[in-house]
């Protein structure tokens, strides 16, 4: 690389927090001021900062989160006797985001269940049908591309809502870039049809079992998946009052 930092790169130590089993590094940032390739004499140019998403939360999660995870485990264990996945096979980890609240009882606390990609439909089925869970409404799928999350680059995030119990939770499913396949959930939630098509269109995640996985927003013959991080934003420099404003993706970024 051309922008070799004088004095070498300095990594900052990253220790998993209390009770965290896994640690999901999703990005690695270099430097501090966003300047790349210029002679950074501040001494911060060599700073290497890994970015890790919140790790698995320890029990008890608080609020209704424990109950939902327990019931889900029970339902999955029951279904495992007739050939379904067990809880340990299906669920990778459970994350509680408190978002600044003191406890999980606060409105802004959120529950995320990370699910193995081949078992997502089975988990959705359990979440939808059991009377203590009843997440009847799937509010869609959104993709996220983490190019630094090795082996799990593409994430699909499902947003479920329970009208019966007034609850919301999130399922997160990851797939590697070189095998971007996730089991489709359209058999459980028909509403996910267009949402999965959108996620395929923008991220290239292939939802196995989807009835007609075609592009939905981009033209049918479009090449590439525009929302991925390696897909350029595009744009042209614009002249304004004598100065040239570069396109947004080549402007200096500070993060």
């Amino acid at each position: 690389m051309s922008d070799v930092t004088p004095g070498g790169d300095q990594g900052s130590a990253l220790t998993p927090p209390e009770g965290a089993a896994t640690f999901e590094v999703v990005e690695v940032k270099k430097g501090m001021f966003g300047a790349q390739g210029s002679g950074d004499t501040s001494g911060y140019g060599g700073l290497v900062t890994p970015v890790a998403m919140p790790a698995a939360s320890p029990r008890p999660y608080g609020s209704w989160f424990d109950q939902v995870v327990d019931v889900l485990a029970e339902v999955l264990e029951d279904a495992a006797r007739t050939g379904g996945p067990t809880f340990d096979q299906a669920v990778e980890k459970v994350v509680v985001d408190l978002h600044g609240a003191a406890s999980a009882d606060a409105q802004q606390a959120e529950l995320t269940i990370h699910v193995a990609r081949e078992h997502v439909a089975a988990v959705c089925q359990a979440l939808r049908d059991d009377q203590d869970l009843r997440f009847e409404l799937s509010l869609g799928v959104s993709g996220v591309h983490y190019p630094h999350d090795a082996g799990r680059e593409l994430h699909a995030v499902y947003h479920l809502a329970s009208v019966t119990h007034s609850r919301r939770l999130r399922l997160e499913v990851a797939a590697p870039d070189d095998d971007p396949h996730i089991r489709s959930t359209t058999s459980v939630y028909p509403s996910n049809d267009w949402h999965e098509r959108e996620t395929y269109d923008f991220f290239g995640i292939v939802f196995d079992g989807h009835p007609a996985l075609t592009r939905i927003e981009m033209p049918d013959d479009w090449v590439g998946h525009p929302q991925r991080k390696d897909y350029p934003l595009g744009g042209i420099p614009v002249e304004y009052k004598g100065a040239t404003v570069p396109p947004p993706d080549t402007r200096r970024s500070y993060s």
Partner: protein, 456 residues
């Protein structure tokens, strides 16, 4: 068709075609129809079967923007209906990844341009969750948000009713609807400076306080709006022609709505009182007194009735919000944290926009650090802790969801909007198939899709 032998210039590089596959005509079946006589005979000869596919849109006066409907018709009956979208995709979500968190509101407000304040509010609530400042938002800011959202709900429903009426030929419904909306747009202009594309709600609060005398102006305008709503109701709800066109058309029952995750007035027309403002309140909606109107018909007529009733409920909320505005006069409309609040006292400067000179003079004259902080916060923006958040609000068309992901930087790592119109359009097939072509217009109008939100 063989490859051309003439001296055509080489085809222009086309962004949407894979390279090296110039001649695509061989893969496309072509039909030629000629002769005179009945079109049915010509079509049967040419195609061999009686199958007529009609493209309605993407440029059609009754498809609410650039929606393309592919209808397979048998006489006047629609046997198959498919919706094609994507004609208005502008990559707003991708663009947001290249702007600061505050600039995000400028982008998401342009998604569903008929109800822009809902995108802004939902996005800001999600960002505030990530920042962990949900409980620190000043009361006045939340009151203004509620007020603006409810005004916007009425404006959006008026467009729905107005254009829906216009598509059926009831021009007066349209003119009254838009006249009433004008009253609300004038209020928006007084508060945000703009009639649409407001970027008014910001992470941490709202951009500026309401102008002096706003509550008086609003009360006067709302009296007119109430009058127009009464006129609209009188024109539509008991009109025999209107009822004949709408009753038992576009029926979607409760299980259909749940399976397709259709929310908003369409879901409530099946009798389920699901409303995010009650189910999972935000911005202090739990402290307002209002009802969630429902009905049992599950058809287009009931959705019109519900939208009119929802407008009255919104007026009820607005009246309470205006009282609270009077009570909280002079209180802050932005969080106290100076790292998040835009470091400015907005006033019209010499250049017609931007900061007040006094403010600039003060920070430049008193402290170098203040100037540096000001500069960095304006150019870089604030940092948002690593994580993801999901926030839904009750949009006029259903449940609007925002999924934001942060990598700890000054820009969203990913911002996704679950637009209710995008989801609800999936129900087009179920609602239109088996009906008449004229019913398609009515059914789509009752879904009230706004293609800016659908395609983003």
């Amino acid at each position: 068709m063989s490859a051309p032998t003439d001296h055509r210039p080489p085809p222009a590089p086309h962004a949407t075609r894979p390279a090296g596959n110039e001649d695509m005509s061989s893969t496309v079946r072509a039909f030629e129809a000629y002769g005179d006589g009945d079109w049915d005979d010509i079509a049967r000869e040419a195609i061999g079967e009686e199958r007529i596919v009609v493209n309605m849109g993407p440029q059609h006066p009754s498809t609410h923007g650039v929606l393309r409907l592919m209808l397979e018709i048998d006489g006047e009956t629609v046997t198959e209906a498919r919706a094609g979208i994507g004609y208005l995709h502008t990559g707003i979500e991708k663009n947001m990844e290249f702007r600061t968190w505050t600039q995000g509101t400028t982008f998401c407000t342009r998604m569903d341009y008929v109800a822009p304040l809902f995108q802004e509010a939902a996005y800001c609530l999600a960002v505030e969750k990530l920042l962990g400042i949900t409980d620190d938002i000043p009361e006045r800011a939340s009151v203004i948000r509620v007020l603006m959202m409810e005004l916007n709900r009425i404006a959006s429903h008026l467009v729905c009713l107005g254009t829906g009426g216009n598509e059926m030929g009831a021009t007066t419904v349209m003119t009254i609807g838009f006249t009433a909306r004008e009253e609300i747009l004038r209020l928006f202009e007084a508060v945000t400076g703009l009639r649409m594309n407001h970027a008014y709600i910001r992470p941490g609060g709202v951009a500026v306080d309401t102008p002096e005398g706003f509550t008086t102006q609003a009360r006067a305008a709302l009296k007119n709006v109430r009058g127009y709503l009464k006129q609209l109701g009188d024109l539509m709800l008991a009109n025999p022609i209107f009822k004949a066109r709408l009753t038992n058309v576009g029926v979607l029952n409760l299980s259909g709505c749940m399976a397709l995750a259709v929310t908003g007035p369409v879901l409530r027309s099946t009798g389920l009182p699901y409303d995010v403002r009650k189910d999972n309140p935000y911005c202090g909606y739990e402290t307002y007194d209002f009802d969630v109107p429902t009905s049992k018909g599950a058809d287009c007529y009931d959705r019109v009735v519900l939208r009119v009733e929802e407008c009255y409920q919104s007026l009820k909320i607005i009246e309470q919000a205006l009282e609270r505005l009077d009570r909280t006069e002079g209180e802050p409309v932005m969080v106290a944290d100076k790292k998040i609040a835009w470091p400015a006292q907005l006033a019209v400067g010499g250049d017609g926009q931007g900061n007040s000179l006094e403010h600039i003079k003060k920070i430049m004259g008193t402290s170098m650090e203040a100037l540096i902080h000001h500069f960095k916060l304006v150019t870089e923006g604030f940092r948002v802790p690593v994580g993801q958040a999901w926030q839904t609000v009750e949009h006029p068309r259903g449940e609007l969801g925002v999924h934001v992901v942060s990598d700890g930087g000054t820009r969203p790592y990913r911002a996704h909007f679950r637009d209710p119109s995008f989801n609800n359009l999936q129900a087009t097939s179920v609602m239109c198939e088996g009906g008449q072509v004229a019913d398609v217009v009515v059914a789509v109008a009752s879904l009230d899709p706004v293609l800016g939100g659908v395609d983003r």
